[in-house]
Amino acid sequence: MTRIPVVERIMKANDDVALANRRLLDAHAIHAVNIIAAPGAGKTSLILAVAQALAGRRRVGVIEGDLASDVDAQKVRAAGLPVHQINTGGGCHLDARQVSAALAQLPLDEIDVLLIENVGNLVCPVSFVLGEHTRLAISSVPEGDDKPHKYPTVFANVDALALNKADLLAFMPYDVVEFERLVRTLNPEITFFQVSATSGAGIDDLANWLVELTA
Protein backbone atom coordinates (compact mmCIF):
# COMPACT_ATOMS: atom_id res chain seq x y z
CA MET A 1 0.00 0.00 0.00
CA THR A 2 1.30 3.44 -0.96
CA ARG A 3 0.09 6.77 0.35
CA ILE A 4 -0.07 9.49 -2.33
CA PRO A 5 -0.31 13.12 -1.19
CA VAL A 6 -3.04 14.99 -3.07
CA VAL A 7 -3.94 18.24 -1.26
CA GLU A 8 -6.39 19.41 -3.89
CA ARG A 9 -9.36 21.61 -3.09
CA ILE A 10 -12.57 19.74 -3.79
CA MET A 11 -14.22 22.89 -5.16
CA LYS A 12 -11.35 23.57 -7.58
CA ALA A 13 -13.23 22.52 -10.74
CA ASN A 14 -16.05 24.94 -9.89
CA ASP A 15 -13.65 27.66 -8.76
CA ASP A 16 -11.75 27.50 -12.07
CA VAL A 17 -14.92 28.07 -14.10
CA ALA A 18 -15.94 30.84 -11.69
CA LEU A 19 -12.62 32.56 -12.34
CA ALA A 20 -13.26 32.40 -16.10
CA ASN A 21 -16.74 33.88 -15.52
CA ARG A 22 -15.19 36.65 -13.48
CA ARG A 23 -12.76 37.51 -16.28
CA LEU A 24 -15.59 37.58 -18.83
CA LEU A 25 -17.65 39.86 -16.57
CA ASP A 26 -14.67 42.17 -16.01
CA ALA A 27 -14.01 42.34 -19.76
CA HIS A 28 -17.56 43.69 -20.15
CA ALA A 29 -17.31 45.96 -17.08
CA ILE A 30 -20.17 44.09 -15.40
CA HIS A 31 -20.49 43.92 -11.61
CA ALA A 32 -22.15 40.63 -10.63
CA VAL A 33 -24.07 40.10 -7.39
CA ASN A 34 -24.83 36.58 -6.14
CA ILE A 35 -28.09 36.78 -4.19
CA ILE A 36 -28.57 34.05 -1.60
CA ALA A 37 -31.72 33.60 0.46
CA ALA A 38 -34.33 31.11 1.62
CA PRO A 39 -37.40 30.41 -0.55
CA GLY A 40 -39.94 33.18 -0.10
CA ALA A 41 -37.51 35.77 1.29
CA GLY A 42 -38.45 38.06 -1.58
CA LYS A 43 -35.47 37.71 -3.89
CA THR A 44 -37.35 38.35 -7.13
CA SER A 45 -39.45 41.18 -5.68
CA LEU A 46 -36.33 42.85 -4.35
CA ILE A 47 -34.53 42.46 -7.69
CA LEU A 48 -37.44 44.14 -9.48
CA ALA A 49 -37.61 46.96 -6.92
CA VAL A 50 -33.87 47.61 -7.04
CA ALA A 51 -33.78 47.47 -10.85
CA GLN A 52 -36.51 50.10 -10.94
CA ALA A 53 -34.60 52.29 -8.49
CA LEU A 54 -31.49 51.95 -10.69
CA ALA A 55 -33.30 52.91 -13.89
CA GLY A 56 -31.37 55.62 -15.73
CA ARG A 57 -28.27 55.08 -13.59
CA ARG A 58 -27.23 51.46 -14.16
CA ARG A 59 -28.41 48.89 -16.68
CA VAL A 60 -29.50 45.74 -14.85
CA GLY A 61 -29.46 42.17 -16.16
CA VAL A 62 -30.72 39.14 -14.27
CA ILE A 63 -29.97 35.42 -14.04
CA GLU A 64 -32.73 33.45 -12.36
CA GLY A 65 -31.97 30.13 -10.68
CA ASP A 66 -34.75 27.72 -9.76
CA LEU A 67 -35.27 23.98 -9.62
CA ALA A 68 -38.01 24.27 -12.23
CA SER A 69 -40.24 26.72 -14.15
CA ASP A 70 -39.59 30.17 -15.57
CA VAL A 71 -42.17 32.10 -13.53
CA ASP A 72 -39.44 34.33 -12.07
CA ALA A 73 -37.88 35.03 -15.46
CA GLN A 74 -41.30 35.97 -16.85
CA LYS A 75 -41.71 38.60 -14.11
CA VAL A 76 -38.27 40.02 -14.81
CA ARG A 77 -38.83 40.01 -18.57
CA ALA A 78 -42.15 41.78 -18.09
CA ALA A 79 -40.19 44.56 -16.36
CA GLY A 80 -38.14 44.96 -19.54
CA LEU A 81 -34.87 43.55 -18.22
CA PRO A 82 -32.59 41.07 -20.02
CA VAL A 83 -32.90 37.78 -18.16
CA HIS A 84 -31.83 34.16 -18.46
CA GLN A 85 -33.51 31.39 -16.49
CA ILE A 86 -31.46 28.44 -15.22
CA ASN A 87 -33.40 25.34 -14.20
CA THR A 88 -31.24 23.17 -12.00
CA GLY A 89 -33.60 20.19 -12.30
CA GLY A 90 -33.48 19.39 -8.60
CA GLY A 91 -30.03 20.85 -7.90
CA CYS A 92 -30.05 22.87 -4.69
CA HIS A 93 -27.65 25.61 -5.82
CA LEU A 94 -26.26 27.34 -8.91
CA ASP A 95 -22.76 26.37 -9.97
CA ALA A 96 -20.21 28.24 -12.06
CA ARG A 97 -20.77 26.08 -15.13
CA GLN A 98 -24.48 26.92 -15.24
CA VAL A 99 -23.69 30.62 -14.93
CA SER A 100 -21.09 30.33 -17.69
CA ALA A 101 -23.77 28.95 -20.03
CA ALA A 102 -26.18 31.70 -18.94
CA LEU A 103 -23.63 34.44 -19.64
CA ALA A 104 -23.37 33.20 -23.22
CA GLN A 105 -27.10 33.91 -23.62
CA LEU A 106 -27.14 37.44 -22.22
CA PRO A 107 -26.39 40.76 -24.02
CA LEU A 108 -23.32 41.48 -21.89
CA ASP A 109 -22.55 44.83 -23.51
CA GLU A 110 -25.96 46.12 -22.39
CA ILE A 111 -25.52 45.26 -18.69
CA ASP A 112 -23.73 47.16 -15.88
CA VAL A 113 -25.06 45.23 -12.89
CA LEU A 114 -25.87 41.51 -13.13
CA LEU A 115 -28.13 40.28 -10.34
CA ILE A 116 -27.90 36.49 -10.00
CA GLU A 117 -30.80 35.02 -8.06
CA ASN A 118 -29.55 31.77 -6.60
CA VAL A 119 -31.77 28.80 -5.78
CA GLY A 120 -33.77 29.43 -2.59
CA ASN A 121 -31.55 27.80 0.02
CA LEU A 122 -29.43 29.11 2.91
CA VAL A 123 -26.88 26.28 2.86
CA CYS A 124 -25.63 24.90 -0.45
CA PRO A 125 -25.20 28.10 -2.54
CA VAL A 126 -22.57 29.37 -0.08
CA SER A 127 -20.08 26.69 -1.19
CA PHE A 128 -20.28 27.44 -4.92
CA VAL A 129 -18.70 30.66 -6.14
CA LEU A 130 -20.08 31.75 -9.50
CA GLY A 131 -17.63 34.48 -10.46
CA GLU A 132 -19.55 37.17 -8.60
CA HIS A 133 -17.94 40.35 -7.28
CA THR A 134 -20.35 40.73 -4.38
CA ARG A 135 -22.54 38.43 -2.32
CA LEU A 136 -25.85 39.68 -0.98
CA ALA A 137 -27.95 37.63 1.44
CA ILE A 138 -31.60 38.38 1.98
CA SER A 139 -33.34 37.44 5.21
CA SER A 140 -36.97 38.33 5.76
CA VAL A 141 -38.78 39.24 8.95
CA PRO A 142 -41.25 36.30 8.90
CA GLU A 143 -38.30 33.86 8.90
CA GLY A 144 -37.52 34.94 12.46
CA ASP A 145 -34.62 36.72 14.15
CA ASP A 146 -32.85 33.48 15.13
CA LYS A 147 -31.58 32.61 11.64
CA PRO A 148 -27.91 33.56 12.30
CA HIS A 149 -27.88 30.90 15.07
CA LYS A 150 -29.13 28.26 12.66
CA TYR A 151 -27.32 29.18 9.43
CA PRO A 152 -24.12 30.92 10.53
CA THR A 153 -22.21 29.98 7.36
CA VAL A 154 -24.29 32.12 5.02
CA PHE A 155 -24.14 35.17 7.29
CA ALA A 156 -20.38 34.77 7.70
CA ASN A 157 -19.75 34.54 3.94
CA VAL A 158 -21.59 37.45 2.34
CA ASP A 159 -20.67 41.10 1.81
CA ALA A 160 -24.09 42.50 2.54
CA LEU A 161 -27.39 41.52 4.08
CA ALA A 162 -30.81 42.94 3.35
CA LEU A 163 -33.48 42.32 5.97
CA ASN A 164 -36.58 42.31 3.76
CA LYS A 165 -40.27 42.71 4.65
CA ALA A 166 -39.27 45.27 7.27
CA ASP A 167 -42.82 46.65 7.01
CA LEU A 168 -43.89 43.55 8.97
CA LEU A 169 -41.75 44.49 11.99
CA ALA A 170 -44.77 46.41 13.29
CA PHE A 171 -46.81 43.20 13.40
CA MET A 172 -44.39 40.56 14.64
CA PRO A 173 -42.12 39.93 17.61
CA TYR A 174 -38.69 40.41 16.03
CA ASP A 175 -35.59 41.78 17.75
CA VAL A 176 -33.88 43.57 14.90
CA VAL A 177 -31.13 44.96 17.17
CA GLU A 178 -30.17 41.49 18.43
CA PHE A 179 -30.42 40.11 14.89
CA GLU A 180 -27.99 42.71 13.57
CA ARG A 181 -25.67 42.28 16.56
CA LEU A 182 -25.46 38.52 16.01
CA VAL A 183 -24.87 38.95 12.28
CA ARG A 184 -22.04 41.40 13.01
CA THR A 185 -20.33 39.03 15.43
CA LEU A 186 -20.20 36.51 12.56
CA ASN A 187 -19.23 39.11 9.97
CA PRO A 188 -17.86 42.43 11.28
CA GLU A 189 -17.57 44.03 7.83
CA ILE A 190 -21.05 43.21 6.58
CA THR A 191 -23.19 46.00 5.10
CA PHE A 192 -26.65 45.85 6.62
CA PHE A 193 -29.88 47.09 5.01
CA GLN A 194 -33.48 47.15 6.23
CA VAL A 195 -35.77 47.09 3.25
CA SER A 196 -39.28 46.36 2.09
CA ALA A 197 -39.79 45.44 -1.53
CA THR A 198 -43.52 46.02 -0.95
CA SER A 199 -43.47 49.48 0.64
CA GLY A 200 -40.25 50.56 -1.07
CA ALA A 201 -38.57 51.44 2.22
CA GLY A 202 -34.78 51.18 2.08
CA ILE A 203 -34.71 50.27 -1.62
CA ASP A 204 -32.91 53.50 -2.52
CA ASP A 205 -30.16 52.66 0.02
CA LEU A 206 -29.66 49.29 -1.64
CA ALA A 207 -29.66 50.86 -5.12
CA ASN A 208 -27.23 53.61 -4.07
CA TRP A 209 -24.91 50.96 -2.61
CA LEU A 210 -24.88 49.17 -5.97
CA VAL A 211 -24.17 52.46 -7.75
CA GLU A 212 -21.22 53.06 -5.41
CA LEU A 213 -19.90 49.53 -6.02
CA THR A 214 -19.92 50.18 -9.76
CA ALA A 215 -18.71 53.79 -9.69
Partner: protein
Protein backbone atom coordinates in the same frame (compact mmCIF):
# COMPACT_ATOMS: atom_id res chain seq x y z
CA UNK B 1 -28.02 17.69 -1.23
CA UNK B 2 -25.03 19.52 -2.73
CA UNK B 3 -22.98 16.58 -1.42
CA UNK B 4 -23.76 14.86 -4.73
CA UNK B 5 -21.94 17.51 -6.78
CA UNK B 6 -19.15 17.64 -4.23
CA UNK B 7 -18.71 13.87 -4.24
CA UNK B 8 -18.45 13.85 -8.03
CA UNK B 9 -15.49 16.22 -7.62
CA UNK B 10 -13.91 13.98 -4.99
CA UNK B 11 -14.12 10.93 -7.25
CA UNK B 12 -12.69 12.91 -10.20
CA UNK B 13 -9.75 14.18 -8.12
CA UNK B 14 -9.00 10.75 -6.64
CA UNK B 15 -9.14 8.90 -9.98
CA UNK B 16 -6.94 11.53 -11.67
CA UNK B 17 -4.26 11.38 -8.97
CA UNK B 18 -4.35 7.58 -8.88
CA UNK B 19 -3.91 7.45 -12.66
CA UNK B 20 -1.08 10.02 -12.59
CA UNK B 21 0.73 7.86 -10.02
CA UNK B 22 0.15 4.71 -12.05
CA UNK B 23 -1.58 3.25 -9.02
CA UNK B 24 -3.96 0.34 -8.76
CA UNK B 25 -7.06 0.15 -6.61
CA UNK B 26 -7.66 3.04 -4.16
CA UNK B 27 -8.22 1.69 -0.64
CA UNK B 28 -8.60 4.80 1.46
CA UNK B 29 -9.28 8.51 0.83
CA UNK B 30 -8.33 11.10 3.42
CA UNK B 31 -10.56 14.18 3.37
CA UNK B 32 -10.15 17.34 5.42
CA UNK B 33 -13.41 19.20 6.05
CA UNK B 34 -13.82 22.37 8.09
CA UNK B 35 -16.98 22.77 10.16
CA UNK B 36 -17.92 25.80 8.03
CA UNK B 37 -17.92 23.72 4.85
CA UNK B 38 -21.48 22.48 5.62
CA UNK B 39 -20.81 18.95 4.44
CA UNK B 40 -22.45 15.87 5.97
CA UNK B 41 -20.06 12.89 6.18
CA UNK B 42 -22.75 10.21 5.86
CA UNK B 43 -24.16 11.90 2.81
CA UNK B 44 -20.78 12.02 1.06
CA UNK B 45 -20.24 8.33 1.86
CA UNK B 46 -23.69 7.47 0.50
CA UNK B 47 -23.10 9.24 -2.82
CA UNK B 48 -19.50 8.03 -3.00
CA UNK B 49 -20.54 4.37 -2.93
CA UNK B 50 -22.77 5.10 -5.91
CA UNK B 51 -20.62 7.49 -7.96
CA UNK B 52 -17.37 5.53 -7.57
CA UNK B 53 -18.82 2.34 -9.08
CA UNK B 54 -16.67 1.09 -11.94
CA UNK B 55 -13.74 3.36 -11.06
CA UNK B 56 -10.44 2.59 -9.30
CA UNK B 57 -11.95 4.28 -6.24
CA UNK B 58 -14.80 1.78 -5.93
CA UNK B 59 -14.95 0.30 -2.44
CA UNK B 60 -12.48 2.80 -0.98
CA UNK B 61 -12.96 3.83 2.61
CA UNK B 62 -13.51 7.53 3.26
CA UNK B 63 -11.67 8.99 6.21
CA UNK B 64 -12.91 12.39 7.40
CA UNK B 65 -10.71 14.72 9.39
CA UNK B 66 -12.88 17.49 10.79
CA UNK B 67 -11.41 20.92 11.49
CA UNK B 68 -13.10 22.99 14.19
CA UNK B 69 -13.99 26.61 13.57
CA UNK B 70 -11.33 28.88 15.02
CA UNK B 71 -11.65 32.65 15.02
CA UNK B 72 -9.40 35.50 16.08
CA UNK B 73 -10.57 38.76 17.59
CA UNK B 74 -9.60 41.72 15.40
CA UNK B 75 -9.44 43.99 18.46
CA UNK B 76 -7.40 42.10 21.07
CA UNK B 77 -5.97 39.20 19.06
CA UNK B 78 -7.52 36.48 21.24
CA UNK B 79 -8.02 33.18 19.37
CA UNK B 80 -10.77 30.76 20.34
CA UNK B 81 -13.14 28.06 19.10
CA UNK B 82 -16.70 29.40 19.27
CA UNK B 83 -19.33 26.96 20.53
CA UNK B 84 -22.31 28.88 19.18
CA UNK B 85 -23.00 31.29 16.33
CA UNK B 86 -22.31 34.23 18.67
CA UNK B 87 -18.72 35.15 17.84
CA UNK B 88 -18.40 38.00 20.32
CA UNK B 89 -14.89 37.92 21.81
CA UNK B 90 -15.10 36.26 25.26
CA UNK B 91 -12.17 38.38 26.49
CA UNK B 92 -12.78 41.93 25.28
CA UNK B 93 -16.37 41.79 24.01
CA UNK B 94 -15.55 43.08 20.52
CA UNK B 95 -17.51 41.81 17.50
CA UNK B 96 -14.55 41.62 15.12
CA UNK B 97 -14.00 37.90 14.70
CA UNK B 98 -11.98 36.70 11.69
CA UNK B 99 -12.12 33.06 10.63
CA UNK B 100 -8.71 31.39 11.03
CA UNK B 101 -9.76 27.79 10.49
CA UNK B 102 -12.89 25.85 9.59
CA UNK B 103 -13.24 26.57 5.86
CA UNK B 104 -10.93 23.71 4.77
CA UNK B 105 -12.30 21.37 2.18
CA UNK B 106 -9.81 19.23 0.29
CA UNK B 107 -8.56 15.76 -0.54
CA UNK B 108 -5.45 15.37 1.60
CA UNK B 109 -4.10 12.01 0.36
CA UNK B 110 -5.07 8.62 -0.95
CA UNK B 111 -3.85 5.15 -0.06
CA UNK B 112 -3.49 2.92 -3.10
CA UNK B 113 -2.40 -0.56 -4.01
CA UNK B 114 0.62 -0.74 -6.26
CA UNK B 115 -0.44 -1.58 -9.79
Amino acid sequence: MHEYAVTESIVEIVCRHAADAGAGQVRRIHLVIGELATIVDESVQFYFDFISQGTVAQGAELSFRRVNVEVQCGACGHTWQPESADWTCPLCGAAQARVQAGREFYVESIEVEDA
